[in-house]
Amino acid sequence: MVSPMYIIAAGLGGAFLLGLLPNKWRTIPYAITLAILGIMAWIAGSWLYAFAVQGAASVEIFTAGTQPPFAINFRVGLAEASLALLTTLVGLHSALYMKDTLFKQGRQAMAVLLIFIMALCGVIFTRDVFNLFVFMELVVIATAGLVLLSADRRALGAGIKYLIVSQLVSILLLVGIIFLYHATGTLNIDDMAAAQVNLLQGGAMAFFLLFVAVLAELKPFPANGWGLDIYESAHPAFSAIFSTATGGATIYAADKMLQIGGAEWLPAATAIGIVTFVAANIFALVQNNDRRLLGYSSVAQIGLLLTVAGQRDILGDAYYYVAGGILLAHAVSKAGLFWLSGLVAQRELTDWAALRSQPVLVFAFATFLALLVGLPPFPGFYAKWDLAHHLAAEGRLWLLGLILFGALVEAAYLFRWFGYVIKREARENGLAWQSVKADVAFSAVIVAWLLAYLWGHLSGHGNLLHAVPLLFALLFLPLDWLPAKLKNVLAISGLLYWFYLNYPSYDPLQLIFAAVMLPGGALILLASFQTQKRRVGFYPAAMLMFAGLAMLIVAKSSFDFFAAWELLTVGSYFLILRGKHSEPHALSYLVFSLGGAFLILAGFAIAAQGAPDFKLAALAQVAQPYAPWVFAMLAIGFMTKTAAVGVHIWLPGAHAEAETDVSPMVSGILLKAGLFGLFMLLITMGKQQLYGVELTYVMLWIGAISALIGNLMAIFQEDAKRLLAYSSIGQMGYAVFGLALMNHLGWLMALMFVINHYIYKSMLFLSVGGIAKRTGTRLMYRMGGLITLMPLSFIAVMIGIIAMSGVPPLSGFGGRWIFYNAIMTAEYRLPMVIVFLAGPIAFLYLFRLIHTIFLGQLKDEMRKIKEAPFWIVLPQMIFVVALMVFALVPGLALRKVDLYMTQFFAGNGHLNWEGLTISSDFGYWNPVAIMVIIGVIFMTLFLWLLFVNRKAQPVKQFNIVFSGERPFRPETTHFAWNFFAPYRKALGFLTQPLVTIFWETVSELLHSAADILRRFYTGNGQTYAIHLLGFVIIVYMLWMGGKP
């Protein structure tokens, strides 16, 4: 094993060696540079291997052969080795990446690079404060030198600002060091820590100066303008090092400082960290320049790390796992993103659309974003999970809230960016492709997935990358070159096989959800056969969603549940984003979903109270002061997915703008995930009271109002898919209402809605999608009279709306019947008023749907259109059959689960399924008899009318009585636009978009605040210096006020 000292030595030696070479040489110095960096990385790597795998103990290296305090000592342990490996590897890759620039600038630049990497390793290794100062100053000088590598001339300005601030920092540092030395008589960090500086005369002040100086290097808010300028203007490869390696090394230095300062200084670190994290993320919201945005994000991530460092008192053993996870996720993703930014020719975020020409790059970009945001299966996810649990266990809820808020803001701007990449128009020559750069960036992708595996392996919750559904979804990434039809076969068989495999292990409740989600999904996927070509990106996303759903149903522990939840959220986001105009809607979907998910995370964390493996069933045992809060958080999180009123505004756009076969998936299937969550929640936690208010009662109101508002909004839509989307809000409102009734039949009704809504909404979305495909529009008033041209779609819609409206004999009636029986025993009666009102309103939009599309007047340009494609019609016809069967024998699906649910309500109120009649405590219902009687009457009358009118003259569309006139044109004769104008007059005031206005105001406020406050970064180096002084003074006031 080579001593780690050789890392330093190799760097220094290499730099000297380069200095000796002739000025004109290029290749040899470059080769030497790479070799040295390689050696450094190899040494670091070998040590890491030794520590991590062979379990070696950390080593102390004493320079000059003496012990401290007489000499400087280095320490290399697991953390140091990993950080050194990270630093050197990033350095090596950046050197590869910067080949052109380094060749142009010559050996001096390479030497500075080596010094830079060496100095960073020194910062990591050293245990001596003054030595730390020296290495940090070296870092400063090298940074200033490397900034000049940039092709951007503005980098000069950034460099000088950086130097000015560094001078200030070094003054603070030196004064701090000397007084600390004066107080403790040593320069060794461990000795200082042992000396407990806070207790010594003047020690606290001295430590404060030292600490604040090191923190200043971390670019804390607000003293970080200079860092952002460097990120924006420096060479991306350098920014990669500056963000990851410098950030990592400095945060490690700060960590060492905290060891000196002791527990007393942890809150300071926490506060500075969290303020930085939140503020930087908010500021990033309004950035348009990609590198500056990455700069803000880097600052934020380092802030988060500082926050984590501030939690080392409660994290215990998990400290390195959490901090490491966040740090590595930040480092790898940020390095990767900076490297990618070098491939993009222009600097606006929207210019990244150029990445689309290379799908691999999009994959890389997605990986980095997921890594950065902390989505499963990446390390940040595990780290966030553990962090949240520790924070919640110790009652640091404010901190948890702020972290989650910051993370949400971060996710918002990052995924907005992703939306630009997928959706915006790519400029000509927007991609400055260089294969070596791409290779470097892609190496980060590989590292990202390796880390994902590693962190999963270490997590103690089971490795997500071992989950078969997830692997199956990921399998579609390498298979994406296959034709879509083949992939579709694979996907369908995968879903069916997984269902078949797990069929025996589902309980009846799970079975219903699983049947809707897996074979149900397969059924909808039939429609995907209709696409030609390869359909890049569809299958990984769709299967990711289905993987999440499959895992959700069988999740036993809160971790599995939450991971599945995040997976399905991300998968569906990618799916929704595929729609033509879905960019803003997909974003709002993701932001709301992640917001909900974070609430769920917080809820689980509070519920677990530090328990490492929290079973979902244990939710029932959550202790009293927490239980209602947990309930509220989880319920709101789940209701975000079911789009309950208040958090529903993402749904219409997301569902309406999605592709033809995606809309039924996200509407018919995905919404059920929220219901499943609510089921799980109510089964385990039951009724909860918060400040004397029964939470299920609140849910009852939310469900009822959702039903009303969803239906009411639906009737005023001109866009067919939006109409259906709003209708989903209403239908989910019913389901939530049923659940919140907290009785047997209420739950059964919710289940009935799960099945019914899946069938008819999928069917309707498919038919409307097929029609939109043929007519080229989704605006209903532009259609009309399509009944003869698209008879099958018409049948599907007609059956769908009869079912949805709840009219016997179709299956919607069953839902209504159970609903009435359920409310008979409900404790609360007032919310029924709202639900009763919502019910008939559904007729309005359903009639509008079928009338304005299929009936009325056929338009000129639609005269020759054909029936929807076979593969879109086929699943609809299957749905029609399914609906009929379910209407005839609801017992097929419900009987078992009815029995199963008796256990939750002490056997009260279940149905009696004897013979063909279904009876409850209050009433009875015989679906077969109803169907037969209505069928007989109907057919008799129909045949009679046909017979009487056997000679009737079929006429065409303008053969209508028109008060002696004739219709002018079909467009002016088709009554369709603003269909329910009188209704708008009567109840339109209820459709005021208050919720939309609220959320828009929130978003607008955040953006405006960010836009105003960021002006505080004036770009003047002296102002930045004053910011730094201000920062020092504020920290002093807050933590040292009153102390010597």
């Binding site: 005269r863 303008f958 004739r966 219709p967």
Partner: protein, 213 residues
Amino acid sequence: MKEELLKRIVKTPDGQEIEVDPLLDYYCQEGPTVQPPAYTAIIEKLFNWARSESLWILGFGTGCGAIEMRPLMTPRFDAYRYGIQWRPTPRQSNLFVISGYLSTKTLKRVIRSYEQMQGPKYVVGLGSCTINGGMYWDSYNTIKRLDDYLPVDVYIAGCMPRPEALLAGFEELKKIIRAGKAEGANLYAKNFEWYKANQKSVIHDWDMPDYNW
């Protein structure tokens, strides 16, 4: 020909160009046919009785005579007791009362409405104007003889005839119907060309199909 009835080329959503001929594509092209009575005489008799006792008048006032129809609904005359009532749509009416002078412009609407009624259907000409032009005998814009254009079952003379005359006219019509002689619709179908020629000779801008179903 009106612009909206001209053939036009439109682009379908999938990019094809198709020709739309509104008269052919939007209107039924069939002509009227002679409709035989019911198979057996007794049923036809029953039907004729029912038809006579259930006269549904199209609410379409063409001239000043329209004002004479209103009193029929009032307690003074109360036409309802004779099974007479007014319907707002030609589809459900079987009696067309041409109430007074008929300008060529209105004639077009009258023809359309008449053809939209379902047979058997009856026409009553009210007032001198429908008989021979009446005081509008020299008008450039008012037809003189209604039966040139539509098969008329009963004329009620006068300028204007009073509501009592109308009631008497309806009674007369009922007799004709019961006798099975009110076959105006069949007459119209049989002499369709003649009627059309007459109609087109006064309606210069014929902008509808030959038969308006």
